[in-house]
Amino acid sequence: MYELIDVIISGVTNGSVYAMMAVGLSLVYGVTKVFNFAYGSLYTLGGYLAFTFFGCGFGYPLVILLTLVSLYLAGLLIERVIIRPLRRREDWEMLAMMVTLGLAIFLDNLYQVVYGPYVKSLPIMFSGNLQLAGFMLSIQDLVIFGIAVLVMGGFMIFLNTHRLGMAIEAVAQDMTGAQIVGIPKDRVFGFTFAISTVLAGFGGILLAPKYFITPFGGWDILVKAWVITALGGMGSVRGSLYAAFLLGIIEALIGWQFGLTWILFAWFAVLLGTLIVRPQGLFGTWG
């Protein structure tokens, strides 16, 4: 019984980080219609950047700040240099998938060349456990959960109330409508891509102390974020949230009961089952 609850807690913790990253992937698809294959590699980028900044001898707050700023700039750059030029072409959505796939492998191998093939890890943010109603809760997990929830909550509030957030939603819902009211489409695309890069990379920082950083570790995350997004409905932020927690818990349960190798199958089975019944995902709408 205690074990089960431990497992669920771990599922919820991971789910919160997955949710954060899936929100980023879903957002960038919903707004810019780019299916970003490099998303997993940007997750890894967050880990490596943080690792590098630690190497400079900075503490956690400064490292996080520097990493997030670098991620933001990297996102802007990627959108500007390799995605925007494609937009003029008729089959650009397909080309965007190919170009981000190329970018993903480029980045992964860049990490391998720069940092070597061996795992890197970040120092633990908080050590120790918290005794609560007979359960041992790792403070690290609690902090991760707290940060992920805060980031997501803050992001939701930003989308719903801030002018720029509203502009992002407007572009997602009707691009021509957004242009009519004078929203600069290109700048929103760039900003959205950059924000999603930040969310991916932030996920990388949060999970790095737990799961380590490897050059190709992003693919697992990409597939997971992808499944969450598809399950929740492409472009639906709310759907991604539910799907992330659901899959986080399923993952923890399967891993506990049947072993880690079955996790990916479970994800895939859930995805396929859902898509067969509802091709547009749980909360998605076509078009």
């Binding site: 409508g177 242009q179 004078g182 929203i183």
Partner: protein, 234 residues
């Protein structure tokens, strides 16, 4: 206020606007009419920057805006009210209106404009919490119109505001246009329902097969059979 000089617009291989010129004087209400699919909406979109122009120039208040981005045009006060509305379906009516005031010139007047719009369309005030997708056709059109008014426009390009509306709603929209026109806004109105609206017009233009086939003031236009023939087809 708006001077369009010999513009050409293509959709792929299809020549939509052929050497079209049009002037709209400040504070005038100009009607652009003609059969469907002959380039009226395209002309409005070209003015608002949603449709690239192949050759020719567009000037606004004396300045060349031919290559300006749509958002810069909105800032200058050129506002398009689309026939197929382009609302943000999952957002509330209020949010749609607030987004209308997105450009930096309209931002500071948001509250005043909102009050004015609600006065003009009390119906929208009743429904301000509702998502735009739940509005009826007529209400959605009102919202599109109201959203345009939120942008602090100096020039409104309105695309067939009466289309698909029941007669009473149609009168509502026309009254709103009349009201807005009184506030000394310059308006270019695409409309097929001429007799209703003609009394407001300063000038009427006829666009057929992408070419301007008639331009003149109200009296001359209404005396002409070509106008009736062109859009009634008889």
């Amino acid at each position: 206020m708006i001077e369009i000089e010999r513009i050409d617009v293509f959709y792929g291989e299809f020549h939509v606007l052929k050497n079209v010129s049009l002037n709209v004087a400040e504070k005038d209400l100009t009607i652009l009419t003609g059969p469907n699919g002959h380039g009226k909406s395209t002309l409005l979109k070209a003015i608002c920057g949603l449709q690239p122009v192949c050759s020719g120039r567009i000037r606004f208040a004396g300045k060349d805006i031919t290559r300006l981005s749509p958002e810069r045009r909105v800032e200058k006060g050129i506002v398009y009210i689309a026939e197929n509305r382009h609302l943000f379906p999952q957002m509330s009516v209020l949010k749609n209106l607030k987004l209308g005031a997105y450009n930096k010139n309209a931002r500071r007047d948001e509250a005043a404009n909102l009050a004015a719009v609600f006065e003009l369309f009390p119906r929208l005030k009743e429904r301000k919490k509702q998502p735009a997708s739940t509005l009826s056709g007529g209400e959605a059109r009102m919202l599109a119109f109201a959203r345009g008014l939120m942008s602090n426009a100096r020039f409104l390009a309105i695309d067939e505001p009466s289309l698909g509306l029941a007669p009473n709603l149609r009168m509502n929209v026309f009254n709103a246009i009349r009201e807005v026109h009184k506030r000394e806004l310059t308006i270019l109105l695409v409309e097929q329902n001429i007799p209703k609206i003609a009394e407001l017009a300063d000038r009427i233009h006829l666009l057929e097969e992408g070419e301007m086939t008639f331009s003149g003031d109200r009296e001359t236009a209404l005396a002409q059979d070509t106008i009736k023939q062109a859009f009634l087809g008889m």
